[in-house]
Symmetry: none
Subunit: 230 residues, 4 copies
């Protein structure tokens, strides 16, 4: 006869698994997948070495379960709840939100990102896909459709290539995130993301060249954009 109710048991087991995965993420990010030892992870999780194997069959399995378990809560699509833009101004507001969310997501998962890079050579294609979902670059398909709509509606350039542009937008932010959060750990530019994101949105929508007229940006929005976002 079991001492604990089945439900409680499942809960306890899930707790342990999360606890171990959190420890694994920490150690993997710190030392890289190969240099991290099970002993390290066990110690970080407050368990004995052998206990890890009561919950995961192998070190590889830890790696494979990391994104699923740790990123689950935020894997809802970024763009789903936002209203579809019907003008350049609405698109600007939309991109500000999207960019801010994107930055937040990558920063949240910076640790998993480091794991991803260190483990790249042993990741199966499917595991790679799972890790890449962390940044949802794959979600660009949705942005692409919106851009296409914008072209059709006329507020975006007729000759815009929506497929390329939809990937460019996250890329404009990604370079800062990669260098600052993952690769080097030091800022490339002396600005916070609440300055970078609006600037990037401006660039994406209006470019860097002077415009014939100065009408294109309502002052209100810009000012708002310069305020704290993170």
């Amino acid at each position: 006869m079991p001492r604990v109710s089945p439900a409680a048991k499942v809960r306890l087991e899930d707790t342990r698994r999360s606890q171990i995965l959190a420890a694994a993420a920490l150690i993997f990010a710190r030392k890289g997948f190969d240099r991290a030892t099970i002993a390290d992870i066990a110690q970080a999780a407050g368990l004995a070495e052998g206990s890890i194997y009561n919950y995961f069959r192998s070190k590889d399995e830890l790696l494979a379960h990391l994104p699923r378990q740790l990123a689950q809560p935020v894997l809802t699509t970024l763009l789903d709840r936002l209203p579809l833009p019907a003008s350049a101004e609405e698109m600007e507001a939309f991109l500000l939100q999207l960019g801010t969310a994107f930055v937040a997501r990558v920063r949240t998962h910076a640790r998993l990102f480091k794991v991803f890079f260190s483990a790249l050579p042993h990741l199966s294609p499917s595991a790679r896909a799972t890790y890449l979902q962390l940044v949802q670059i794959h979600a660009a398909a949705r942005l692409e459709r919106m851009l296409r709509d914008g072209v059709r509606a006329g507020y975006l350039r007729k000759d815009l290539n929506p497929a390329i542009a939809a990937r460019v937008f996250p890329g404009m932010l990604f370079i800062f995130l990669m260098v600052q959060e993952v690769l080097v750990g030091r800022r490339m530019v002396p600005y916070e993301y609440d300055v970078i994101v609006p600037e990037v949105v401006q660039l994406f929508l209006y470019g860097s060249a002077s415009r014939p007229r100065a009408t294109r940006r309502p002052a209100g929005l810009r000012a708002q954009g310069r305020h704290r976002l993170t």
Copy 2:
């Protein structure tokens, strides 16, 4: 009495070192730093295991010497010989060349890039900097100055942030290069780089929003931009 002249001896030794580093780059890129064995590298270099140690003190040292030795020939600055632009059109031409060169450089060093990622946790900050020089994102300082000039000259937006924009430009291309060449090996979009680069330049200069007037892009330049670049 030495059989070989000292100079020839140095040359031979350099050859061997390059030969070993090339083998190391190949194996590191293929298996990741930790999974690569000295035996692998020795075999790829056509030497015995022990011989590696006549040229490099340790496996870590191989990693450290990789970018310096292998990337030396191409580490010339990207922008040095280009004439400074004096208008949006000249800037467009300049960015096309810069972007194309950037793409070529990253693709050339894709292998070292993979090594960089796989070895990230073991690299000292200075080693990281050395590897990042491969793509010269650090060189953005020069582009930043040019953008600042452009703003001053009036053909770029008064409210442009040159520091941010200078990093955004490579980032717009970097996302494609990262995913396609380094991380996944499959294309994100069904276009070659000679389509992507001009599109990115257009976005960077003119944005994605419609312009009040259709005068902004001389047809000649655009057509040229669509031609083969790689």
Copy 3:
């Protein structure tokens, strides 16, 4: 106040022990002693791992208790109830029964035999003796006495060595049993034991060489010997 009577308690405990030993015999025979895990055995017994230790102190103890407990019911002596033979013909009948019983016994305990072999290196001499009792080769002493009687009575060869002959007889069958039931699992010869046993008895009594006269074997007995015995 105990809920169960002491006697019933003992009975229940014995049942559990048998149940565990049966599971152990199954698993040990299948995987060998060292490869069998307590988890395997517990599962086969329908218990939890820890429960095994309420009945046996260790894995080794399981091994030691196997033959005693599982073979008890059949450890009755093979030869006890047979009438003592007074002629070669009676001896032939006797050996047929003895051989048949021997074959049946070994086949019944084939599983324990496999355990015995797999665990040989860990068995103490006394444990080895216990396992060997399963086939009662040790019981040859009784057969030896009967052979000695036969020699004295004159129907067995004067120069027969009863000690050796008494061990040879089970050996003649044992080789088939070893190879077919224990070691290989495939038949050495295309005959059932009800052909092998009479043939072996003939060989033991009359040899393989031709006899000067053809009178040696009454037809009746031989025919009987060829009938089903198992």
Copy 4:
């Protein structure tokens, strides 16, 4: 440039392999396959643990190479060089030699026999066959043919089953060898093999029952048979 000639290198390597296999045989026989550790074997071979793996890929491979390497020299067929018998007397002489050789072989390989039993559960069928060749019970086919000839020639019983008899003969000796050399290490009977073998041959040829006439065994041969054989 290699310091040692290729031939010398091969010789050295073979020596090492033999040295390791001999150590493995010793340890496996002593502790059984599963309890034997690579550390044990390395120590017995006078090497470091890791060195074993320069010659054998795994512990299993050691097990698989044991019989091939260690038994090779004696794997020539026992029966090949003996003249074919043409009478019961010649058959008796032949069986004496065969039995003596069989005993010698099994005793020589007693150690491998123990290994065989301890490793039985993990041996592949082909590995089992290789180990069983050590005792060449498979060679019974040849003896079977000889017995068939004897029946045809008339000096063996018309109703003899040669297939069964050919397996019985080694079995008569095998029981002593198994119990004395492999399983228990103590003698079943107070006789040396130079007494047991002739007795077994007598039993096999002439049985245990009295014969109508006393003519069957020429005294000369018997006396000879009782002399030292091992």
